[in-house]
C-alpha cells in the first residue's frame, strides 16, 4: 500500500475503535438499569396480591458524555480517513463499496453528532452508533484488496458529477439513519412514556428534520444520477434496479411527508413509515449484492 492509502487505513482503524467505544458508552447510558419493583397490594377481600413491575432507570449521564466524545473522535478520524484516501486517489469516494461505506461512516457519525448538538439529546446515540458499528464491521469484512486504490473503469471517470451524486447519496442515507433512530425512540415513547427519553414531539421533529435533509438529497441523487447516466450511457433513466430502488426509497419518504399533514396519521403511523423507509435505504445500499445492471461494478460481484 502506498503511504497515503496506508495512513487512510490506519485512520479508519482508529475511527472503528472510536465508534466501538462510543457505542459501548451510549449503550450503557441507554440500557441503564432495569429495576424490578415488587409491590404488595391488599385487596378488599383481605387477600394480598403481589405484583412486579420493571422500571427503567437510565445509565449515568457521564457515559453519554463519553459517548459524545468518542462520537466526535469517530467523525474526525473517519473524515480524515476519507480525506487522505481522496488525496491518494484524486477522486471522490465512489470506486467501490469500501470507499463508499467509509464515507458513509464519516457522514453518519458527523450528521448524528450535529443533531445531538442541535437538540441536546444523547439518547439516539445507542441506535445510530449501532448502525455505524455495523458499517465498520461490514468494512472490515470486505476483501482487503478493496482497500487498495485502483485505476478507475473509464465509465466512472466523470469526477464532479460522480462525486456530487455519491456524496448526496451518502448524506441522504446518513440523515435517514438519524430519522430511523428517532422513529424507534418515538414508538417506544408512545407506548411506554419513558420520562428520560426526549418528548414525543421532539423525536417527531428530529425524524422530520432529518428527512427534510435526506429527501431533497435523494432527489438530487436521482437527478444527478440521471444526468450522469445521460453522459455516460446516453440514457437518462434506464429502469436500472439500483435507480428504481432509490426511487422506491424516495417515494416511501414522499408518503411519510404526506402523512404528516393527515391528522390521524401523524405520529405512530408516520414513524412506522420511517422504519420502512430505512429498510428501503438498506435495500438500496446493498442492492449491488442482488442486482445485476449497470451499478453492479461496486467491487462486490
Amino acid at each position: 500500500m502506498e503511504g497515503m492509502v496506508r495512513l487512510s487505513f490506519y485512520l479508519f482503524a482508529a475511527a472503528s475503535i472510536a465508534v466501538a467505544a462510543a457505542w459501548v458508552c451510549y449503550m450503557v447510558y441507554a440500557v441503564g438499569f432495569i429495576r424490578l419493583r415488587r409491590t404488595a397490594l391488599a385487596t378488599s377481600t383481605g387477600m394480598t396480591v403481589t405484583g412486579s413491575s420493571t422500571e427503567h432507570v437510565p445509565g449515568p449521564m457521564s457515559a453519554a458524555r463519553f459517548g459524545s466524545l468518542f462520537g466526535w473522535f469517530a467523525a474526525v478520524f473517519a473524515g480524515l480517513s476519507v480525506l487522505t484516501r481522496a488525496i491518494a486517489s484524486h477522486r471522490g469516494p465512489y470506486s467501490n463499496m469500501y470507499e463508499f461505506s467509509l464515507a458513509f461512516v464519516f457522514v453518519l457519525t458527523l450528521a448524528y453528532m450535529l443533531f445531538e448538538r442541535f437538540y441536546n439529546v444523547r439518547q439516539l446515540g445507542a441506535i445510530v452508533m449501532t448502525i455505524a458499528l455495523g458499517m465498520c464491521l461490514y468494512l472490515w469484512s470486505l476483501p482487503p484488496r478493496m482497500r487498495e486504490v485502483d485505476a478507475l473503469n473509464p465509465a466512472l471517470q466523470n469526477r464532479p458529477l460522480m462525486t456530487l451524486h455519491v456524496s448526496a447519496a451518502i448524506v441522504a442515507y446518513a440523515t435517514f439513519a438519524v430519522s430511523f433512530a428517532a422513529a424507534i425512540l418515538f414508538l417506544i415513547q408512545l407506548r411506554k412514556n419513558v420520562s428520560w427519553l426526549p418528548s414525543a414531539e421532539m423525536l417527531d421533529d428530529i425524524g422530520f428534520r432529518a428527512v427534510t435533509i435526506g429527501f431533497p438529497m435523494l432527489a438530487l441523487v436521482l437527478i444527478l444520477g440521471s444526468i450522469w447516466a445521460h453522459q455516460a450511457w446516453g440514457a437518462y433513466w434506464s429502469w436500472d434496479p439500483k435507480e428504481t430502488a432509490a426511487l422506491f426509497t424516495w417515494l416511501v419518504y414522499g408518503v411519510y411527508l404526506h402523512t404528516r399533514s393527515l391528522r390521524g396519521w401523524r405520529g405512530q403511523r408516520s414513524a412506522i413509515i420511517l422504519l420502512i423507509g430505512f429498510v428501503a435505504v438498506g435495500f438500496t445500499y446493498y442492492g449491488n449484492y442482488f442486482f445485476g445492471g449497470m451499478h453492479a461494478y461496486g467491487g462486490v460481484n
Partner: protein
Amino acid sequence: MAQATLEKRGFRNSPLETIVDRIWRFFCSVRAAVVEIAILAVLVLIGTLRGSSVPRWIADAIPATEGIVDRWYGWDVFHSMPFMLILAILTIAITVCTLNRAPGIWRTINEPTISTTRGFIRNADVSANATIAQPVESSLDAFTTSLKKKRYRVLSEEHGDAVHVYADKNRWAKLATFPFHLALILILIGGIVGARYGFKENEFIIPEGSVRDVGHGTGLSVKLDQFSDSWREDGTAASYRSDLVLYENGEEVKRDSITVNNPMSYGTTTFYQTSYGQAAQMRITDLDGNVLYEDATELGIYRSSTNPDAPAGIITLPQSNLRLNVIAPDEDRANAPMLDTLNLESGQMYVQIRGTGPDAGAEMQDAVLVQGVPQEINGIVVEFQRETRFTLLQVASNPGIPIFWAASFLLVGGLFATFYFPHRRIRAILDRSGEPGVTQIALAPLAKRDWSGQKDFRGVVEDLQRRLQTDFVVNERASTYLERPAKPASNSA
C-alpha cells in the same frame, strides 16, 4: 372556496354534479394521494425486485410460488398498464390538488383571518400571557417591533376592548409546494416527450474523413476529422478521441472533440464516444470512370463465414444493384490456414461482388485487391486506397432535456423553500378591559404538534420579555401524542 361549497349545499345537486364533486374531492384528498404514492412505490418495488435474485430466492424457499415468480420475472412493470395508470392518476391528482389549494393558500398569504378566540390560545400546545404596564397602543407597538425584528409580518384588528394580532413569516414559501408538485408532472412530461420525439442510435459509425447523416429528421450530419487514441503500458486503451465537425443542412455549425464521458451536444442531440474500429478507404467507379462510391467502409461489424476472425464490411451500390463484401487480412497469424483460408497480406483486401437485383443469381465474383491498384471486377473498377479507422458513436436526441432541467430546479428549489422556510404563525390578543393603562396579552403559535414551531415561539416570547421588561407566563401542555382518551374509572384495588 369554503363559502362557495356552503352555498352549494343549499341546493340539491344533480347526480352528475354529485359524481363530479366526488371525483374532484377524491383527487384533492391527501389521504388518496398517500394511497396513490404508496401504490406507485409498491409497483416500483416489484419492478426493482424483478431485476434481482430476490424472487428466485422466494421460489427456492417456497416451491409453490414458482409460477408467480416466473410471471413476475416476465412482467415488464415499468411499461405496463397499471404503472401508466397510476402515473396518470397521480398527474391528475397533483393538477386538481393544485387548482384546489391555490385560492386557499393565496388567501392565507394575502388576507389571513386576523381575529382569534381565547379558546384557541388556551387550547394551544404552548401559549404565553403577561400583564404589561403600558396601554394597549404602546404595547402593540412594542410587540410589533419585536416581531418585525424576527422577520414577522404583523396584522392587527380592533375587536371591542381588544386588539387581535396575526403575525407570520416565510409566507411566500408556502407557494413553493406548487413548483415542487408541478415539477413532478414536468418530469413525466419530459419523459413522454423524450420517448416520443427522441431517438437513440447505438451504433453510429463514421470512418475517418467521412461524413454521415444523423437522420431522424434532424438535418444533421457529422464528419470525423480525425481519430486518435493513447495506450497504457499494459496494452489497454487509456483514452480515445474523435474530432468531429457537425453540419446542419450542409452548414458547419459546430466542431468539437469527444471522448468517453465527454460527449458533444447540439440542440437536443448528443454524440457519445463509444468505441472505434478499423476501416478501409475504397473507391469504386464504373468503366467510364464515373464514381459510384468513394468513402471509408467500416470493418469488423460483419463477420465472414469463410474467415470468421477477419474484419469484414459491406458496401451496397443500389444504382448498380451490387453488393460488395470487403474482408481485411486476419490479424491473428495463427489462424492460417484452418480459420484464415484467404491468408491475405497486410496491404491487401479481399472483395466479393454479388448482384442484388430481382434477377440476381447466387454467383459471386471475387478478387484480392492490392492497396492503390484499381482492379476491374464484374463491370466496375474497385480500388482499396488505404486503411483508416472509424469511430463508433452513440447518438441520442432527447427533446425532453430542457423540460427535465427546468423540473429539476423547480423540484429541488421548491423542496428547499418548503422545508427551510417554514411558515410560522402566531396569534395574539391584547386586552384593555382591565385596569386603565395596562394591557393583558395572550399569544400562541399555530404549531400543533410542531416542536420546531413551538421552539420558535418560545424565542419570540423571550424576545418580548426583554423588550417589554415584563415577565411572561408560558403555559405548555404535556405531550399531545401521549394523551389517551379518558379511561373508564380505574378499578383501584
